[in-house]
Amino acid sequence: MYQPTLVAEKDIMEALELVQDPEISTVSVVDLGMIEGVEIHDSHVSITMLPTFLGCPALEIIKKNVVEQIQSVAGVEAVEVLFKTAPPWTSDRITEKGQKGLKAFGIAPPPKHFTEDGSWHVDCPYCGSTYVTLDNIFGPTACRSILYCKSCKNPFEAMKPISNLM
């Protein structure tokens, strides 16, 4: 008799680790904290994801990449990806591995603290200097800001802090 292969959550998570941010090849959607839930019913897999920013144009690409990756897992017949806004994605969801991945790409991980007026500080991802200035809170993508390191004279980007306090 035909026995369907059991789909293990571990295999799904491993597959998700392979789905990169379309613009930052060193971090996965898991590292970014975008995965909120995985449900497996026999051969059907349903993934709940949290958008980093609501107007992020990469969401559709990410969704497509997740579907393709999960479909390649043995035993999976159908994949569904749902975006939810609750709980809201916050920048503290980025894992330690994700923070390392961002740095490797020249992007400072989001700061853990910011003051009431919205100012915050990160160190240069290249040389570690704290002698940096904020050039533009709005960067090339919704989730990033542009900074400049006065020590090594490199422009760099940082992930914007996004928090429940905002």
Partner: protein
């Protein structure tokens, strides 16, 4: 008490949809006006910043249209692009053109007007979003919580421009004051719910418009006081966008922004 779409009466659902159309149309039109500034902002950093803000704002409109789609009011694309001016519930303020000229030809847009419109609108949006975090419709409360996090940066951005230009040269101050006057003339329906005030209250969708208006005035007063200028006064509008009363500027915007959509409405894009 929170509610979901299933247990809603028709009157309740209608009130909710009315609110969602007001919110969606406001963000949608302002985002469109913002996108017309692309490549024209005073400097490259500002071009990056304001286009990022417009992109976020379009994302917010999409969320509200998405909630309307869930309630059975049609597809997001049709709601955004397929509705006539008469069906639009946005305030007059957001439909106004950026200045003289057409952006494909020789636009002579007014940056002072952009700063004042965006700052005053963003502050009003912040007041509304704070109230919507406590709305009885849970999916909307969730969207408001997320929008609030992005709005935090928009608000700081426009407040910075506003205070800096008003602390700058005499010419800048003069142009800013003129812009404040223009924005105030159109601000009357920003804090209006059209004919829906009673039903919004009945279903506890959002606080009273008068209360929100007072909060907006109080927040703005603190900022203008430090700049030694008088508190702007909202003028009575001669038309109310929430009732579908609009200007020709909205007609022109709709005909431009829905051009691609109208070629073939059945194609998603």
């Amino acid at each position: 008490m929170s509610t979901n779409a299933v247990e809603m009466t028709p009157a309740h659902k209608e009130a909710l949809a009315e609110l969602l159309f007001q919110l969606a149309d406001d963000d949608f039109l302002l985002s469109y006006r913002g996108s017309e500034w692309l490549g024209l902002a005073p400097h490259i950093e500002e071009d990056v910043a304001s286009s990022s803000i417009s992109q976020d704002t379009m994302g917010h409109a999409k969320m509200y249209f998405g909630l309307l789609e869930e309630l059975g009011y049609g597809k997001i694309d049709d709601l955004a692009h397929g509705r006539s001016a008469k069906e639009r519930k946005n305030s007059i303020l957001v439909e106004r053109e950026n200045g003289a000229g057409y952006y494909m030809e020789t636009p002579r847009y007014d940056w002072a007007y952009a700063v004042v419109r965006n700052y005053f609108y963003t502050l009003a949006k912040k007041v509304k979003i704070d109230s919507l975090k406590k709305t009885t419709y849970q999916p909307l409360a969730e969207v408001a919580t997320k929008v609030s996090m992005e709005l935090f940066y928009h608000h700081i951005h426009w407040r910075t421009w506003f205070t800096q230009l008003l602390s700058s040269s005499d010419e800048a101050k003069e142009r800013m004051n003129k812009a404040i006057e223009g924005v105030m003339a159109d601000f009357g329906d920003v804090f209006s719910y059209g004919n829906a005030s009673q039903s919004f209250k009945e279903f506890a969708l959002i606080e009273d418009a008068t209360v929100l208006k007072q909060r907006w005035e109080a927040a703005l007063e603190e900022v203008v006081k430090a700049l030694h200028i008088e508190s702007p006064i909202i003028q009575q509008p001669d038309r109310n966008g929430r009732l579908g009363e609009h200007t020709e500027e909205l007609d022109r915007a709709l005909s431009t922004l829905s051009e691609v959509y109208r070629l073939n409405p059945s194609v998603p894009w």
